[in-house]
């Protein structure tokens, strides 16, 4: 890497070499039995150069031909992509505890054993199928640049997931558990899943209307995307955020506080620097409903003449983040450590507050609709119907829709527990009032 950086420095004004390697093991259970095991061992390098305020970019899997990689980056300079920023000079940060060495000795066989144990606990609770998966992910990142910045980190994640499927539907109640090291799937999550599953086995057909909706963490991905679309530095620069001029004003109910929490190494994948070597720090987006900040990578921070927020990650937009190949992507503004602040009520207490409404356990189509505008329209997958504080069954063929800047103005209460939310972040259950629910009736 150093050799490549030296070569690149001679050919241009600034240079950055990013490298990543990762090892993954994934075991998959279907119908409560082991189905497949995938292992991956991947690595790669990415080069960014800046000459006369223009960006060159290239990547490779194997650093065999440095000249060719540099030439590819130089060729891309011809396109004249503007880069009005400096690669940062970042001192080595205080190390975070992102890697637990015990993870390296965790084998696929251990993952199989835990999935087996989990399935055996769930089997007596259902006539339907159970799917489960467990994985380990260990990654090493190093970033060096022409200002002398040399940052590296190793992080590890263990994850396990189980889903109890309603017979014949393919849809179920699932929970994820993430950690930095192996831990047994928590009993509390098993209880929560089985209770929700048991209470919602009957299919009911409620009437359409405006009602309370309890957004469960599994359904929050699409909501998070819309919050992040509105506060993303890129969309501020492009003037397509509906809240671009609303810093200091109330955009959500005062119960809502949203922040980025990259340094919290109690959770997996904490980061002390982003994918372009900018130091990470906690960042509040929304405090008590009031919009406080937007988030930026180096590029959009420079365009808007504001400081970067350490939010430049080599990832894709929306679902693309799930199959992103980091070396092939330039950093964009992203917040992988998003947190919505929990409240004080248990799930049971939240449900008790619903006179008539839906518990949105999963949302279909989070990527559909006008995301920049904040509009959402989710298919319930599944949706549990509640009357007088009690779950009475589950709804099929229903849609929950609105604009995030409306229901999140009418938050009734927020759950006391944070759950991981796929791409990305950690969120509690959020109970909103007066949300549009369309059903067949």
């Amino acid at each position: 890497m150093e050799e490549l950086l030296q070569m690149a420095k001679k050919a241009c004004d600034q240079a950055e070499v990013y490298s990543i390697s990762y090892d993954d093991d994934l075991v998959l259970f279907e119908d409560a039995r082991l189905y497949d095991i995938n292992s991956k061992k991947q690595s790669g390098f990415s080069l960014r150069i800046i000459r006369d305020g223009k960006l060159g970019f290239a990547y490779t899997r194997n650093l065999i031909n440095r000249q060719e990689l540099l030439r590819n980056a130089q060729d891309s300079l011809e396109g004249k992509v503007e880069a009005d920023y400096q690669f940062p000079s970042t001192p080595k940060p205080t190390p975070l505890k992102t890697f637990d060495p015990s993870l390296e000795s965790l084998s696929p066989s251990d993952l199989v054993e835990e999935c087996n144990r989990l399935c055996q606990l769930l089997i007596p609770q259902t006539d339907g199928e159970i799917s489960a998966a467990a994985y380990t992910h260990v990654e090493k990142i190093r970033i060096i640049n022409s200002t002398g910045t040399d940052l590296s980190m190793q992080s590890g994640e263990y994850g396990i997931y189980a889903n109890m499927i309603f017979p014949g539907s393919g849809v179920g109640i699932g929970r994820d558990f993430l950690s930095k090291k192996f831990e047994r799937f928590p009993q509390t999550l098993i209880q929560e899943m089985t209770e929700l599953f048991r209470k919602s086995s009957r299919v009911v057909e409620p009437k359409s209307g405006r009602m309370k909706v309890l957004f469960m963490p599994n359904s929050m991905m699409g909501i998070n995307w819309r919050i992040l679309s509105g506060t993303n530095g890129k969309n501020i620069y492009l003037k397509v955020s509906p809240v671009a001029s609303k810093i200091g004003t109330k955009i959500f109910d005062e119960k809502i506080t949203i922040y980025d929490d990259p340094l919290n190494d109690a959770r997996p994948k904490a980061r002390s620097f982003d994918d372009e070597g900018v130091a990470c720090r906690p960042l509040t987006l929304v405090q008590d409903g009031v919009l406080k900040n937007f988030f930026y990578d180096l590029n959009y921070a420079a365009k808007l003449k504001v400081p970067p927020t350490g939010s430049g990650y080599r990832t894709g937009e929306l679902f693309m983040a799930l199959s992103a190949d980091p070396i092939t992507l330039k950093p964009i503004p992203a917040l992988p450590h998003l947190v919505i602040k929990p409240g004080k009520s248990s799930l049971t207490e939240l449900v008790k507050q619903i006179d008539r409404g839906i518990i949105l356990e999963g949302a279909l189509g989070p990527h559909s609709g006008n995301i920049p505008n904040g509009d959402f329209s989710f298919g319930v997958s599944p949706g549990l119907y509640v009357e007088k504080g009690k779950i009475v069954g589950r709804v099929k063929d229903a849609m929950v829709s609105g604009n995030i800047y409306e229901p999140f103005q009418q938050v009734v209460d927020i759950g006391d527990t944070l759950y991981p939310c796929a791409v990305w972040g950690w969120v509690p259950p959020i109970l909103c009032d007066d949300v549009n629910v369309a059903t067949k009736n």
Binding site: D36, G170, D325, G365, D397, S401
Partner: protein, 457 residues
Amino acid sequence: MFEKLQRMLSRVDADYADIRYEIKKAVIISFQGRDLTQIGSNSTDGYVMRVLKDGGMSSVVFTQEKDAEKAARSAEENARLISKNIKKPVTLAKTEVIKDTFVPDLKEDPRKIPMSEKLELVRRYNDIPLKHEKIGTTYIAYQEVIREKHFLNTEGTQIREDLITTRLVGEIISKDGSLTQNIRISAGGSDGFTAVRDQDKYLGKKTAIALDLLKAQPVEGGTYNCIFNPSLAGVFTHEAFGHYSEADLLENLPAMREKMKLGNKLGSEVLSVMDDPTLPGKLGFYKYDDEGVKSKPTQLMRNGILTGRMHSRRTATEFGEPVSGHCVAEDFRYPPIIRMGTIFIQPGTPSFEELLGQLGDGLYLSDAQGGETSGENFTFGAQYGYVVKGGKIDRMVRDINISGNLYKTLKDIAAVGNDLTLSRTGGCGKGPVMQLNLRSCYGAPHVLVNNLVVGGV
């Protein structure tokens, strides 16, 4: 290369093994508004090895040649672990042993077009919407993905195939005060650079729709009878039916498998659906899948009755049904999974005007805006639509999302038009580890569907 792959395979102790080595070449040119944000050409490569031992099958991905030995050991070990825990041993369905090199005929090889010419073309397209005051911004990208695949298995199959995809994707965002609307751009194909040339009129049409949407009213949520345009009907076919014709999604869901038994009547009389990856020049074309199986057309439904299914070699044995050649990976970072090739509703006889007459009052909905399936439920968005009154197209509506149940909706298809059109870009995500299939192709004629739940905003 094949000698090297042969050496890697020869060291595997298994009943069956295969290895796929791919070089993936990607060109990207993207504009965000007036700014060119990315331009470049790069290549990456890597290996996927699959091992079947004692009825257990596992896969391993690696990107460095030096890791081949370690990868083989880990695949063997994982296969053994699976064989000890699996319900039923995996047996791969028998297929023809193939030795072939296939490079598709291109109308214009994108590798021979200078980057400067590609850049100017994309800039020209991007300028079309940006001329208008109420276009807030654009994202327009040219993407070229070339997969040079080498496949070898221990049965003697040896295949070299290139898959070349060119596409123009992105969105046009219109803005009026605090209201923003977006329209997606999707053009391209598998037959070379020609697929992205001459798109000026297309961009002009999309820009006009994005501007019209600023004046459209949100659709009122409720249950409607609807006509889908071919793009939307294609996504509907893909989401509401196609995914559950993929055998791996059903394999371990006994209750759904029972509902999806071949011979069951699932759709209305007018509905016949085919998946055909062999259609030359179409986006979904491939000659061999990533298990080395030759692709072929599969009739999935005829007059509402289930007649076939998409399979891997593993699921074909499990279901006792013919191998179909539908096991495809995104690239070298993934083992193959069952994917649709080109799925479409086969045309009927009514014209679009006749369908409007049959609809009477309802909605005419156009162009998909993302879709998703989970079990029997599906959801997808339409980019824009029109209210239809007395068989006549009336005012434009926006914010249209549709949700439904697979079994009910297939029976609610009332009529299928005569104007089949196939999609020019794909991008379906699937899998426990998400894989994106850029060549997922879908299509349909105009289709009339009754009783759809449409969610407004």
